[in-house]
Amino acid sequence: MPNAGADVRPGGTPAGILQRESWGEWLDRHSRTFFIAPAVVLILIFAIFPTFYSIVFALSRVRFTGEGLKFRLVWFQNFAKQFLGNDQVHFLGKVGAMSWVGTLFFAAVIVAMVWWLYRCTRVTSWVGMIGRLISAAMAIFVAWIIGGTLLSGNPIGTLLTTLFYVVVGCALQFVIGTGLAFLCSQPISGKNFFRVIFFIPLMITPLGVGYAMKMVADITKGPFQPLFGAATVDAWVWSADPWAARIVMMICDSWQWIPFIFITMLAALENVPRDHVEAAQVDGASGIQIFKEIVWPQIVPVAVTVLLIRMIEAFKIVDLPNIMTGGGPGSSTESMTLHSMYIWRANDVGTSAAVAYLLLLLTVVTCASFFNYVVLGQLRRARV
């Protein structure tokens, strides 16, 4: 029987059941916010706020004076400088008169984009269309630069060098990584040994990898010196030839990132249900047919996700070019992050932020397009 005569504690209801709420209970009642608050606040302060702040830098010329920073708003001059000013050759490459190969390629890309947009009009809402328009515009712009520089024999700028690292690099890394994963998923002994070894490069400090690769790739004193013949006076050297330097850079970057694809694809391969493979074997499928018909379709969703993650990381390449060749012969191996970092070193914060923003734009559009048209496509089709 509730003791009717209970004294009424201050703030308590007459029934004397609801005592003052201990701070623990209050905390629990608001736990909804307390759980997510720290993460959101940290990201707001250290990621979102700086991103906006960086816009201010990109739009103005900044000078260091006795009493701190002086901002002079110049709107889009820093950005325009990259496209029109004397930096254009550094950023886009020498976009000279387009050779016929270049024009052909450029025209083909335009046609493909227009046809793709036309085909999509029936499929998606207007938001989707805007997304597609942006992607198409970016693709045409890049095609124009490729046509103007690469296919017309002119040197390319940091934009295309970064794209080269991302596109060609990720493709090479994906093929080798998946191949290794397939090998390791076969019934061979010592699998764990290889798994551990292959994982190590991913974990080594990129800086350490940079110097290790610089030592290994050094023609005069490095291990491959005999291959290049006794350092004859006019021996060919990879660090003097722009394309060779880029390829060596990409190979060293792959050395570090192939393990990432190897580990994730191995996990995917090992998660294909045993029954399916056995059923196919009983049905008379050969090894190749099993992989092509049964295993590959089931790991494609994971594969595209892994590729997307790798692309996001690939855009940020900075340590290797900085250490191995300091931007390479001229600026041929310079990635956009490095481009921005070198400008920062000269305390030209405005242009540096502008280049960083262009990199952000390039990354977002490329990754978003890849995500929407490839990853979601695969996930929808292979509704597992």
């Binding site: 260091f64 000013g85 004397n86 006076v233 003097a240 001229g330």
Partner: protein, 494 residues
């Protein structure tokens, strides 16, 4: 907790507390810590740390030397001092960079300290460094620890074997380099290189190109300068003189190591110490570096050429190259215009204006300690330190150098070359105006690297440099730059 654990805690706490009290010989700067920021490696930082220990023993002031890569010294100091973070008390960097920091009012004026300082013996410092190196706007803002300018070096034995004279002009430099290129210079059977110049991007390669260009462009003495037109601040780059300099610079590549575009000063020094280089463009260091143990193959064989000039000079009005005459090149010597380039201006120490007085005194005392003849005369002779002579007492007699292990004949050549350059009225000064680091370190260096790599032609490179320099001038304000340039190139002694 077991007894053992308790005692361990007590011990470590005691040790920690002991560290705090910093018991050291009571001295003038007891408890004061001076943070110095400079480039890494034993070259500058190492010597500072060792002298720092001696300084601490004498005065109790603690010297902490922090090393950051070369390209980050200037931005870090400028940010640290301009925003008042004051993590750095003293910056040891290129004398030329001091101007930009001074224009933002960040450097402490050392004139009062110098007057009170008895042990410094200011006049012993060579005039160029005393007035150009240490003074900004007429006031002493820096104390030199090293006197730098670039010279051409040659392998005496190799040239004599080939019956060649040391080059006097850049064309002769190319000729000599081409003749000896491919010969075996260190007896290891493989062919070696006619000339080794560090051309890697972002690694001080922009100084070497200025050494070549100075003799083509500067004809009427140091005050004329060879970067800008003093009155309009218009860059005098886009002309035949700089074009010739660029072409000569690229031509040296034919007789250099194939990896030259990716070699920084460390790599080229590795090469010439292994005896693989016939000709060099370098600071004062090869003189002493050849005495190092791992340079046994070239000990006493690397001689210096006072300066290398040119028979054609720039006519500023037309922008064309004209042969050397009395009017076009008053300071020319038998038809050759020399303009030794004080590249980098030498390493100097500057003090942060916004730190407390006690720290300033301790910092000044240390810099003066480093600069005094007693210490610097020893430091400049040690090859490893990378300090080059800047005091008259060091340049007058050769016995100081012979004592350090240099053969007499080499010492005479080395000091002769340095004195010749120092006393040359047409000496070219390094750029000493705000933005110097961006004018040369970023714009000139990037365009040069891209030209050497064949990405752009020489005309495009010069056009880009001109546009880039104009933009920087706009940034800082044309008039303030004109004033700064006038101050920087003011005739010595004012």
């Amino acid at each position: 907790m077991s007894i053992y654990k308790k005692s361990l805690c007590a011990l470590s706490a005691a040790v920690a507390l002991g560290a705090f009290s910093g018991v050291s010989m009571a001295g003038e700067f007891d408890g004061v810590t001076v943070n110095i920021l400079t480039r890494p490696g034993y070259v500058i930082a190492g010597r500072l740390a060792e002298r720092g220990k001696e300084f601490e023993a004498a005065t109790g002031g603690k010297i902490v030397v922090t090393e950051v890569p070369f390209a980050e010294i200037f931005p870090k100091i400028q940010n640290d001092w301009s925003t008042g973070t004051n993590a750095i008390d003293v910056g040891v960097f290129a004398a030329g960079w001091g101007v930009e920091l001074d224009s933002a009012g960040l450097l402490e004026d050392l004139t009062p300290y110098v007057e009170k300082d008895t042990k410094l013996d200011l006049n012993d410092i060579a005039p160029y460094f005393r007035d150009f190196g240490q003074k900004i706007g007429g006031k002493t803002k820096l104390l030199m620890v090293d006197g730098d300018f670039q010279m051409v070096y040659y392998r005496k034995d190799v040239l004599e074997k080939a019956g060649l004279q040391p080059p006097k002009t850049w064309d002769q430099y190319l000729e000599v380099a081409s003749k000896i290129h491919g010969q075996d210079m260190n007896g290891d059977g493989s062919g070696d290189y006619g000339s080794c110049i560090f051309k890697k991007r972002n690694a001080q390669s922009y100084f070497a190109i200025q050494t070549v260009a100075a003799s083509y462009v500067q004809t009427h003495g140091t005050a004329e300068g060879f970067h800008f037109d003093a009155k309009t601040m218009k860059p005098i780059v886009n002309n035949e003189a700089w074009k010739k300099a660029f072409e000569v610079y690229k031509e040296t590549g034919k007789y250099g190591p194939p990896e030259e575009l990716n070699m920084d000063i460390g790599d080229t020094r590795g090469l010439f110490k292994a005896g693989r280089c016939g000709l060099l463009i370098e600071w004062g260091d090869p003189g002493t570096l050849q005495l190092d143990p791992d340079a046994a193959k070239v000990k006493g064989l690397i001689y210096a050429v006072g300066a290398v000039g040119s028979t054609e000079v720039l006519d500023r009005a037309t922008g064309k190259l004209v042969p050397v005459t009395k009017e076009s090149a008053p300071y020319a010597v038998d038809g050759i215009n020399y303009a030794p380039f004080a590249a980098f201006g030498g390493w100097a120490g500057a003090i942060n204006a916004k730190i407390d007085q006690k720290k300033k005194d301790a910092a000044y005392a240390f810099l003066s300690y480093m600069n005094q003849a007693a210490q610097s005369n020893v430091d400049v002779t040690i090859g490893a330190t990378g300090y080059n002579p800047y005091r008259l007492s060091q340049l007058a007699s050769t016995d100081l150098w012979v004592k350090a292990g240099m053969p007499k004949e080499l010492a005479e050549n080395y000091l002769g070359a340095i004195n010749g350059a120092l006393n040359n009225p047409n000496m070219a000064s390094d750029m000493k105006i705000p933005g110097a680091q961006k004018y040369t370190g970023v714009i000139l260096d990037t365009e040069l690297a891209r030209y050497l790599a064949g990405e752009i032609t020489v005309d495009e490179a010069l056009k880009n440099i001109e546009a880039g320099w104009e933009e920087v001038t706009e940034d800082f304000g044309r008039d303030s730059q004109i004033a700064a340039q006038a101050l920087a190139l003011g005739t010595p002694g004012n």
